[in-house]
């Protein structure tokens, strides 16, 4: 009697150490005494549940006896008992969180097995929680997700009863598959993937039948979403708000493609899923939309969306059998394989076997011809051809081993081994047509389409046999387009004030921006937009207005130039526009000013911030220096800006000062000008001198670069390119002989071939070589 009292005393009073077996015993007592859940003891139970999870994890990590006690007393059954009662939010959430913590943190296999034994967990899974409460739903879903993470061939039998074909974890999960909450849907997918991944024969067999309905629903959901997206694409205008909505829809759809791709990587259901995908989605919906309409009732997509989906399938899914059957049908079959179609029935769609219509449809390789026709549609615009290009690009990118079947269709693929493949002449012809359409007078080719065409062409010729006829053919048409664009630009060159800025901007964009096709794919889905209000960058839309036309032409010119050079294996020698790279001065350099014109200036950024500097200019740069205290005649550069970007305005109220703004170059992230300051000179004459020098320097610098562009475009220019002789030498030790750059006199016209060593002499300064050089002030 006494012993019993004494023995149980440990669990009657609250032990001090919260991490001990004693404490667990006490908590078990608490639960036992509070079997009935009532309002007053709710708090006690919640805290007890929480503490239990904490002790168990502590026990798992530190003291094995804790777990033994937990199992001995069947404490999970307490959990069930509590659950059976009408628990309400807080207790339910606490229960689920406790279970979550248990299953996630347990490290010992044996502890896990003990927890899973007795089927309690399955009872918890099947318990009908109040899923209308989003918090309970979220905790429940993360609980089953945690469980699914613990699945492996050893633990699967705790969940899956092979004899009765009972698998509550799966069946309960599937009930939530179209929940409104995104996170819940994601969790459901995770659980399904985790289950499928378990390599256990009995389970795999079971899954084939158990998942049939779910997979069918999944594909039908895909069909519904694609039709919905297609309707949106047909009806929506190309503006930013619509593209946001479009992106959401496309992302949801591509998520499903990715999910299908992940599902296909498992052996058991891959076959049934891929046959579902082909028989319900690819054939009746995609392929049906690529040929002429045969049935009035059938739901068809626009070829735009159909090609887009096809390209996404090829980009996302790499399951070889599916891709092979897809490509086989796409490249070689005719319309006779289409034996079903989707029709609209009330609010949803249903699959119907299509009556085999007359024999007029038996055109060979109907889908392939559809693709070629789509490619060839550049007469109007490039809306459709862009997606045809995407499909070809995606074929070449597909990660499944597809080189054989592509070789059979005469499409060279860089994964091909052995014999060299020829390239389907019709495809090449279509691609060249796309390139050439850029040169047409009323061309509606967007630069991005040309860019994609160039990418596809490069990939195609990469592995093609190298008698170079193909390369040369492409290079020929590229150079034709390049010439046409060149003449367009040459006319614009003399008219556009800002041609130099445009050219350098576009070149910078081209070299730094790489085409991200997985992002671009959906942006082009809406009909081509022309106005800048659509919020699209210029290369993804049609140009509007003269300036944009010029920019577009520059882009087209640069793309074709690059294509030509790649085809001929030439190196780029002219771009980027550079003059005397080695003579560029940087901030912090120490330069010799012995022979330079110096102007003392006070640079005032604001009322308070003033700096005393000397202003120097060379052919391209505006330089501010601070005299070096150690070496006489030398100075340290504190600011460098390009003269071509400099704007100078006089100050009406103060004749001694100038406003100088140096715009930042393209590609520099920081917005706003590089320098914006007031230059205050000693007197008004020096101010005038500085203004003259800067204005002239700006003109000269611009003319130099314009001359380079003229060289590039191959047009003679009437612009007189001038230059000051080089006056600054940097990097020499003090007192050493000054490095003289030879600037050979030229005929003064900017039609010379290259940049650095043949810059023409400034006629004014060369006429007066020594006297006017030094103005020490």
């Amino acid at each position: 009697m006494l012993r019993r009292l004494g023995g149980s005393s440990g669990s009657l009073w609250k032990p001090k150490n919260p991490h001990s077996l004693e404490y667990l015993k006490y908590l078990q007592n608490v639960l036992q005494k509070n079997e009935k859940l009532t309002e007053p003891n709710r708090k006690i139970i919640v805290e007890a549940l929480r503490a239990i999870s904490e002790i168990l994890i502590w026990g798992d990590q530190n003291d094995g006896s804790v777990f033994d006690f937990f199992l001995e007393r069947q404490m999970l059954s307490h959990f069930l008992q509590i659950m059976e009662q009408d628990t309400g939010l807080f207790v339910s959430v606490q229960l689920l969180q406790t279970l979550n913590i248990l299953f996630e943190n347990i490290r010992h296999e044996t502890s896990l097995y003990f927890l899973l034994s007795n089927n309690h967990v399955n009872h918890i899974i099947t318990h009908r929680f109040d899923f209308s409460n989003e918090e309970i739903l979220a905790y429940y879903v993360s609980f089953i997700k945690t469980l699914s993470m613990r699945l492996n061939p050893a633990t699967i039998h705790f969940f899956f009863n092979e004899t009765t074909n009972d698998f509550p974890l799966l069946t309960e999960t599937l009930k939530l598959f179209d929940s409104k909450e995104t996170m819940v849907r994601i969790a459901v997918r995770t659980v399904v993937l985790n289950i499928i991944r378990v390599k256990e024969e009995g389970l795999q067999k079971y899954l084939i039948t158990a998942l049939k309905v779910y997979l069918c629903d999944l594909i039908d959901q895909l069909v519904g979403m694609s039709i919905d997206l297609d309707v949106f694409v047909r009806s929506a205008e190309n503006v930013t708000a619509n593209r946001e909505r479009l992106r959401d829809k496309v992302d949801d759809l591509i998520d499903i493609f990715h999910y299908v791709g992940d599902l296909l990587e498992t052996n058991s259901i891959a076959d049934s899923l891929s046959s579902l995908l082909t028989s319900r989605f690819i054939f009746p919906l995609l392929f049906n939309s690529l040929i002429a309409r045969r049935n009035n009732q059938a739901v068809l997509l626009t070829p735009i969306s159909a090609l887009f989906y096809a390209s996404q399938i090829l980009l996302v899914i790499s399951h070889r059998p599916l891709i092979l059957s897809f490509l086989q049908a796409f490249l070689f079959e005719d319309a006779s394989i289409l034996c079903s179609q989707w029709i609209r029935s009330e609010d949803s769609y249903c699959l119907q076997t299509a009556p085999l219509t007359d024999s007029t449809i038996s055109e060979e390789r109907a889908f392939f011809h559809g693709l070629l026709a789509a490619l060839d549609s550049t007469q109007n615009d490039d809306y459709l051809s862009f997606y045809a290009l995407m499909v070809i690009y995606a074929m070449l990118q597909n990660k499944g081993d597809v080189s054989d079947i592509l070789a059979a269709a005469s499409i060279p693929h860089n994964g091909a081994t052995g014999t060299v493949v020829t390239c389907e002449p019709r495809i090449v012809k279509c691609l060249i047509d796309v390139v050439e359409s850029a040169a047409k007078a009323d061309s509606r080719l967007r630069p991005i389409t040309l860019e994609l065409t160039c990418i596809v062409l490069r990939q195609l010729v990469l592995t093609v046999d190298d008698d170079n006829t193909l390369h040369e053919a492409i290079a020929r048409s590229a150079s034709v387009v390049q010439a046409v664009m060149g003449t367009h630009l040459a006319t614009a060159l003399s008219k556009e004030q800002l041609f130099l800025e445009m050219f350098e901007d576009e070149y910078h964009e081209l070299t730094t921006q790489t085409l991200r096709l997985n992002a671009v794919g959906w942006e082009m889905l809406l009909p081509p937009a022309a106005s800048p209000f659509s919020g699209l960058p210029l290369n993804k839309r049609l140009s509007s207005g003269h300036e944009e036309r010029v920019r577009t032409n520059i882009q087209l010119y640069l793309h074709t130039r690059k294509l030509k050079q790649d085809m001929l294996g030439e190196q780029e020698t002219h771009l980027p526009l550079q003059i005397d790279l080695h003579a560029v001065v940087r901030v912090g350099d120490c330069i010799n000013l012995n022979n330079s014109d110096l102007l003392s200036v006070t640079v005032s950024f604001s009322r308070h911030e003033k700096q005393s500097r000397f202003l120097v200019t060379d052919r391209l740069q505006l330089i501010l220096v601070e005299p070096d205290t150690k070496k006489a005649g030398w100075a340290i550069v504190t600011f460098v800006g390009l003269l071509q970007d400099t704007q100078i305005t006089g100050d009406a109220s103060d004749s001694r000062s100038l406003h100088v703004v140096v715009e930042s170059r393209a590609g520099i992230k920081r917005p706003g000008p590089l320098l914006s300051a007031r230059f205050i000179f000693d007197d008004h004459i020096r101010c005038m001198a500085a203004k003259q020098r800067l204005t002239k320097g700006r003109q000269n610098a611009r003319q130099l670069k314009m001359g380079l562009i003229c060289d590039l475009l191959g047009c003679r220019t009437e612009v007189l390119a001038r230059s000051n002789p080089y006056k600054i030498v940097k990097g020499c030790a003090p007192g050493s002989a000054r490095k003289q750059l030879d600037t050979p006199a030229n005929d003064g016209l900017g039609s010379s071939k290259s940049s650095s060593n043949s810059i023409p002499e400034d006629p004014v300064t060369s006429a007066n070589p020594s006297g006017s050089k030094i103005h020490h002030i």
């Binding site: 991490h19 805290e47 929480r50 904490e54 994890i57 502590w58 990590q61 530190n62 969180q97 979550n100 913590i101 996630e104 943190n105 918090e135 979220a138 905790y139 993360s142 997700k145 945690t146 993470m149 995104t182 996170m183 849907r185 994601i186 997918r189 995770t190 993937l193 946001e244 959401d248 992302d251 949801d252 591509i254 998520d255 499903i256 990715h258 999910y259 791709g261 992940d262 992002a519």
Partner: protein, 341 residues
Amino acid sequence: MSYAYLFKYIIIGDTGVGKSCLLLQFTDKRFQPVHDLTIGVEFGARMITIDGKQIKLQIWDTAGQESFRSITRSYYRGAAGALLCYDVTRRDTFNHLSSWLEDARQHSNSNMVIMLIGNKSDLEARREVKREEGEAFAREHGLVFMETSAKTAANVEEAFIDTAKEIYRKIQEGVFDINNEANGIKLGPQHSPSSPNSPAGGAGLGGSGASKMLPHKALYQALCRMGDKMVYPLLPAFARPAWNHAAGPKTVFFWAPTIKWALVGAGIADLARPAEKLSLGQNMALAATGSIWARYCLVITPVNYYLCSVNCFVFLTGFTQLLRIAHLRYTNPDWDKEKTQ
């Protein structure tokens, strides 16, 4: 528990950097960090307050799902905020940050707020990544940076709450489209604070169809709201439950009987009139309606005691007048003749 907004977060980073511990530390304060216990969760929710607004945070850990492209992709898209974690005692976890960030930027909504977290800052002795390096990385990529410790709970609150503040700021600026739940932000169930369960009054108070509301409904709701604000606080405690009663002042069931009190008033005023001038028919009608309606009020839904009381009084006044008439005729047998004279 109601909230104004719900933000969904994800936690990303290499395994073993303490993501789940961080999450548990934030969502459940009752778990005290102890030296011999490592404990974490993959999901948690907690309510916080920003600018006086209740905001619920739902945090999802993506651990263990990296092998499925479809899953990580969807997670990124569904979140409004992300905590990108590394372990200051393990250089490799820091080196992997850029690939995590690239993934996140590629898949997520462009407005997603990303916070860089250097975890386990308590293990100063074993530190491999300097604080300055984390700061530099954050500056370079435009992230907010913080060093935390799930063990000592240092900065854990701040990490989650600062992220929420940043999201909230973006909402205020109108950058986030809050009506699109795919962005990881959800609007809470709106309801006026004092009418949680009034079926009749609450019918139009959902607030969801506000854009299409008819003018009379809008007026009604404005009145209700005004009453909630100005009248309700003045009510004594015992009267408060009546405010939102199904037959309370927000419904016609209250105002109809209130007007009917005028009949009672008129009836009482009639007491001053000489009995011979009272109409027998009118008072019979009053007494009859009063009695019939008083009974009727007790059988309808909602049972309306207020209407019952007013009808009782109508009956009583009518009946009193009838008694007076009867008394007059009884004491004055020739009342009929007087009238004809």
